[in-house]
Symmetry: C2
């Protein structure tokens, strides 16, 4: 299909954000985006099963097979370039990537962070730790952020954010689930679709969303 945008989704675990992307594609909501490859940083993760069930080519590039983060990043970047990938999505990808990938895919790598950046982000804020920090701080609103990946951890231009309430009695687990269901799984496919439709314009730190 002319104008098709090839998406690679990088995963490390269960792949719930991958599933949200696969579901969006099945509904036609990612067009002209097409999930062309799923790459896992370790074998045996359930995300690979999700890719297989959706008929998407799935690959394992195990971090442990490379001597350094840099060597791993370079090999992964070359693989993605060989696959003619237009958009890379980090969907719960827990492996450190170095600047070589950002340079190869400038403003073409999306990450989802489970908080409203600049709150509860940066080094050490991943997974449940983010929600533990939010609850300890006592915020009443949290949410998720989809941003372009830059060389600064969680510091790239913000594409979309969605707020979610913190409720009485929340644990890190209940808050994590609500942020996933009500924010991450919605805005990650939406941001990917906006990218594929050419509707994102990055000016410095600010992402403008153009009219259709």
């Amino acid at each position: 299909m002319s104008g098709e945008k090839r998406i690679a989704v990088l995963v490390s675990g269960g792949g719930t954000n991958l599933q949200a992307l696969l579901d969006a594609e099945a509904r036609g909501d990612l067009q002209p985006g097409k999930i062309a490859a799923v790459v896992a940083s370790a074998p045996g993760v359930y995300a690979l099963e999700r890719a297989k069930q959706a008929g998407v080519p799935a690959y394992v590039m195990a971090r442990k097979d490379y001597p350094s983060s840099k060597a791993y990043t370079i090999a992964l970047t070359e693989f993605l370039q060989g696959q003619k990938i237009d958009l890379v999505i980090l969907a719960g990808f827990m492996t450190i990537l170095t600047e070589e990938m950002v340079k190869a895919f400038p403003n073409a790598i999306l990450n989802v962070h489970p908080a409203l950046i600049p709150s509860f982000c940066g080094a050490g804020y991943f997974g449940l730790h983010v929600h533990e920090a939010a609850l300890s701080y006592g915020v009443k609103v949290s949410g998720a952020t989809v941003h372009f990946v830059s060389e600064e951890c969680d510091g790239g231009p913000i594409v979309m954010q969605k707020a979610v309430p913190v409720l009485e009695g929340d644990t890190p687990e209940t808050l994590q689930r609500r942020v996933m269901e009500q924010a991450e799984w919605q805005i990650l496919p939406q941001a990917a679709a906006l990218f594929c439709r050419g509707r994102l314009r990055v000016h410095g730190r600010v992402v403008h969303i153009t009219e259709e």
Copy 2:
């Protein structure tokens, strides 16, 4: 009225948040809270006119009449204690208060901040500067926070937060207006009412809202 809670609202300017509180009281939404005094840090501000129109006793305690922030804070604290105030609300009060007031009114001073704390808060983040910072950072969601005042700037326990979208084409002024209308003017009266109904429990940094 038995069980009435006496509220003092401290103002420095136009008093739009004061108006939201006066409107809530007129609707019966502040009960058992009663706005018993409005105190302005300078003469001639429009907030005084709003108090007069609502029939609320209004006072001017001008910062310039005192030699230091500490002397001003002590005089103001003594005034509020003399008025048997239960809850102090800083509604756009732009004058520095020192720890004497926090000690006299522990977890009984509410402030409203025009962002989702811990984003865009602390020293230097006041008024339009907050919204300029949010737009420069490129967030897609902002909002407002009502928190108890502690000795740390914008650092006290959070009572309520409400998110507001940042829209394409926003200026600091349009974002400020939306945050006021859709967040500040709603959550400040709601938080005051919860306080007056005895429904707030502070545990460390976290404010729990009890069932009615």
